[in-house]
Amino acid sequence: MDSRGLLLLLWRRFTLRHWALAPGQSVLLVLILALGIAVYFSVRLANRAAGASFQHFTDLVAAESDWVIQAEAGDLREAVLPELARRLGSEPVTLLPVVESTATPPPSGGPETIGDRVTYRVLGIDLVGVQNLARDAAEDAQAQGWFDREAVEAPEAEAGESLFWKTLRDPTSVFISSELARRDGLTAGGILELVLNERVVALRVAGVIPEVPGQPAAPATLLVMDLPALQFWTGRTGLLSRVEFRVAKGADAGLRRAALRDRLEAWSREPWESPVDRDRDAAFAGAERWRVSSPSERREAGEVMTRAFRLNLTILSLLALLVGWYLIVQAMDGAVVRRRAEIGMLRSLGVEASTLRRAWLLESAVIGLLGGLLGALLGWAGAQVSVRVVGRTVNALYYATSVETATLSAGEWWGAIGLALASSLAAGWWPARVAARVPPVQLMARFAAASPVAWAVKHPWPGAALLVVGGVFACLGPVRFEGGVRFPAGGYLAALCWIVGAGLLGSRCLSAAARALRPLGARSALWRLGVSALVEPTGRHALATAGLVCAVAMTAGMVLLVGSFDRTMRGWIARTFQADLYLSSAGAQSASTDNRISPETWRRLAAHPGVAEFNPLRACEIRLMGASTILAGGDLAFMRRHVDLAWVEPPTDQAAFFDRAAADPATQGRGSEAEPVPVLVLASESFAERFQLRREARLELPTPAGPRLVEIAGVFADYGNERGSLVVEGRQYAAWFGTDHIASLIVKLKDPAAAERVRSEWLGEYPGLQILTNAHLRAEILRIFRQTFAITYALEAIGVVVAVIGLGMTLASVLIERRGDWTTLRALGMRRDELARVAAIEGLVVAAVGLAVGLLVSGALGWLLIRVINKQTFGWTLQFAVPVGALALLAALVLLGAGTVSYALGRWGARLPADREE
């Protein structure tokens, strides 16, 4: 018989027979692997979808651009267009100016939760000029145009003013995606009510955004308006978000493309041709008026923004896989032990060791393949849920994304299956080696070879060494990427070392615990029976304990992190939010909404007789050292009176700081050229951590009025975002940005009890505003914060479930091994229920030990998460808090789960016939 035939024979008569004998266990094994893969895979898919959701929308309505220019801070002046047109002359380059903003449907009027309403991305483009691009892209003119009759025909089209002019001249004209048209049943002429800035505007659907060949269809959340109309509604007349450039195809396109970037960069350093204000513009001397980037660089920047967050999620998702892997190792190891008699016989009959090893690896591979296939399917289904959760977090923390589905590529599929295969082969490698290597005599004599795991469990020092190595890792700084992204690699390695180390040591506690517990129920035979099994625990018991330690430690560590976060946030909220009403546009639904409040509106509101004090807040994303961060402007005098800033590094003289910072912006920051006096700013802790800048550090800040020298006067704790922010006096901000539009208005009323009344009065007048009372705002902040941890909890819970299943599997195989003893016990008159209780006691003790050690380790892990991983990733200092209730719930759930599974298995085991093979 050739070796292949033999392998097949072994597969049929050896592997499959055992599987058939214990189908439940085989299925469970595949399921566990599938679950681990599914968790990892679903998070990976969701992550990828969220990471890729930072879209360069203009590509969807016109061909892909080659370069994009935008201001380092704020908007770009429209005056750049004639200047560029003149400089470019008849160069074969097409310019596409863009204004981008956000909008949401108006609030329904009922109680609001932030982020519930969809956020639309509104693109303002020149609806006339874009058609040249569309035509260039559609060489055969088959593509549908913007003003195609079929798409646009409206019944009221009349002779006087053609549909085209009507659309172009009506500032409420909006083009929608075909998906939105289909979903909401909107047709040309239909009305779409939206909150633009703080106004509710009834937009008229002018048509459907035509598809561009080679580009995906526009997402449902994309809206397109004529550029000046969107400028008008968003109060940005004369301003552009960016200008895009498309280099004509043809000879030397690559060279022309590269040359264009060089020229754009050179021109950016030249003075403004039509100065707005000579003084302001003078500040630009030698500085860059705009930044040149490619759409792929922009997308990358979006990905970088969420990289730390996504890496953290990936690490957590690997946990379930890790626990699952533990279990497979254990199961394969158990199988070798159980089948050793047969293996010995086969070896005696002359079956080569290598053939046996291949048979084992084949078995692992089949499990891996099945688990991978199932896992990928489950993961893909799971991703459809997790992608929304991840999307919500990305929305709350980074940028507006509407990602709702995670797509699956063939590469991802094979990746998941490959990972499953690799894990199961790695798990099966040692058992296969044992089966192949150990002499038949030893096998026949039921000699159990020491696996490396068993060896590590037997000796205390591998575990201890891991703990020490982990300690060293914990002291390492983060790995820094471009764009201010940090990754706490040392922290995660420390966590891994500690978890594995504690798992190894923890299983040693099993025997000690059993010895200590045995006398407690000395009078109960069931208790003695259940506990005695653990006095000399098997390797499988040790592995089950280690799995539990791992899962419990991670989960409890996370509980500690979230608990600490929660407490810190509450404290911060209480100190920071002391005003009565918080106003913003009803469109402010995520971290990146551009909806602002116009000066007319907020000035009118601030003049309300019920208002005692107010603080108009301005904020804008700026680019600093190649990374995006936030520049905020607020009334520092108001903050001094009503915000209790939690200082990380307070200004050296607080009174002097506030006096100087709040001074007239015209006199602020002036000095001689040789000795410039910087404008004083406050930095958030995340900012200081991210840019490695401390108090008294000076930096040049890009502003629409040119670069300005600022000095960090103090660093305060802020949990609002992880990109970090700089706070400058609001009037200074307004002077730099030349706009009085604000992001939000904080109001203290003369009579705080009147908050609800004033709120409804204002809402009646301005339905496009979102007005939160103090209590509502606090609740919303906590809710959003907890929502961002939802996925983390889900991942941890899956880890615990896998660990409890692992415990069940361990018990099952132990019971099978002990079937002889149990037959004897039954013969001695023990009832099935009593045997089940014995099993439950055994399971509970293992669970209790795993839990105890896990909780102990979670303390260290919690410290690691709070002080190292979180601090390094997000730059947030948190107070340590122990959420006793949550931990107790976790303990109760673990014990309950372990007890139930063990009891059920006990009942099953009690029925096992003595001659049952497996």
């Binding site: 429209e78 267009l81 004639p82 047109a85 470019l88 002359g89 008849s90 160069e91 074969p92 380059v93 097409t94 310019l95 020149d126 006339v128 000029g129 058609q131 040249n132 035509r135 260039d136 055969d140 003119a141 088959q142 549908q144 145009g145 913007w146 003003f147 195609d148 009759r149 079929e150 798409a151 002779a159 006087g160 003013e161 053609s162 549909l163 085209f164 002019w165 172009l168 001249r169 009506d170 500032p171 004529d226 550029l227 000046p228 109309a229 400028q231 008008f232 007349t237 280099v247 004509a248 195809k249 043809g250 000879a251 030397d252 396109a253 022309r256």
Partner: protein, 413 residues
Amino acid sequence: MTTTTTMTMTTKRTRTRTVRTILDPFFTPGRIARPGARGVVLFLLAMAPVALAAADSLSGYAIPEPGVKFEFPRDHGSHPRFRVEWWYVTGHLWDEQARRYGFQATFFRTAAPHRLPEAAARGVASPNFGTDHLFLSHLALLDVASARFLHEERLHREGWAAGAATNTLHVWNGGSSLVLTQAVGLEQMHLRAAIRAEASWDLQLTAAKPLVVFGTNGVSRKGETSTAASHYLTFPRLDVSGRLTVAGTTRTVRGQAWMDHEFSSSQLSAGQSGWDWVSVQLAEGREIMAYRMRRKDGTTDPFSTLAWVGRDGHVIHQPAGAFELMPLARWKSPGSGAEYPLGLALRAQDPETGTAVEYRLIPLARDQELPGRIGDVPYWEGACRVEDVVGREVGSAFVELTGYAGDLAGRLR
């Protein structure tokens, strides 16, 4: 400094040129069974009211007035009070190796219909993104040796990307522009244009002959209604020199061009199916402009005309019955499927000698068809060489053929 020219010449009708082809199809959506021609395109929508207005009122737009005194350079510039305006340059170029080219650069302007004050108040005024005028450019280049015909059209709203000065000639659209650089003595213009990355030219145009104003008393009547008229100014011969870049190679070129500048608020008349227009520049120094309106029944419209421009710029008109434009061959466009009469025999009476003459206008390449995507109307506008009856080359010409890609008449409702 300005010069004042009173108009000297009369004609019953000037050609309506391409603008009409552009606006006509609006009235019959889906009428051209052409692959890819789907729906109505922007410019037509924009232009539609022009045609409708012809029947009743001009909705507040200026009507050409007889006896108007043109002032230059102001009147070379834009006249936004009129609804439609164009600057139309066609010409022939030769490089140092005597390689021959034909070029076209046309700048159209069209005004939006007037709005009621309430509607105007609702609108958003933006100097860089205007909503009152649209500019369309048609650019084409023929490389005779390779018979390669390049073309491009660009549409922009008035603002940063396109516009026209009102005090002098300065019209631009995208990267192309036509600017008057010298208004005293022999007018000079600078024409700059690019067709994607494939070709570009930078040309100095110098008037070799004075400006000609067509029409009676400065007004060129278009039809029965008195408002259907235009002001029609032409440079019949411009000396050209400059640089031409094709496929990355820049060459010094010289040659001759013809330029029309016409503005009106209504150009239309019903009943025609299309027209053939020619401009002939004879080597002996005279020019001929002829225009045949084709009626649906195949006959020539009485508004058709032929004009001789003498060596001194003096213009003599001949009525529809006094000349003939006969097809010599036919060519079917693979793009639009239209069948054009390529090669025209122009027969007329030479006013200098009083004898009958025949000139044959032979296309320098067959495919000089502009697909007119924005206008959705293909037309043939191409460079021709002019031969006499014995086959001697006696000049150059440009020919415009419209209404062959479907019956224009059906669109005139």
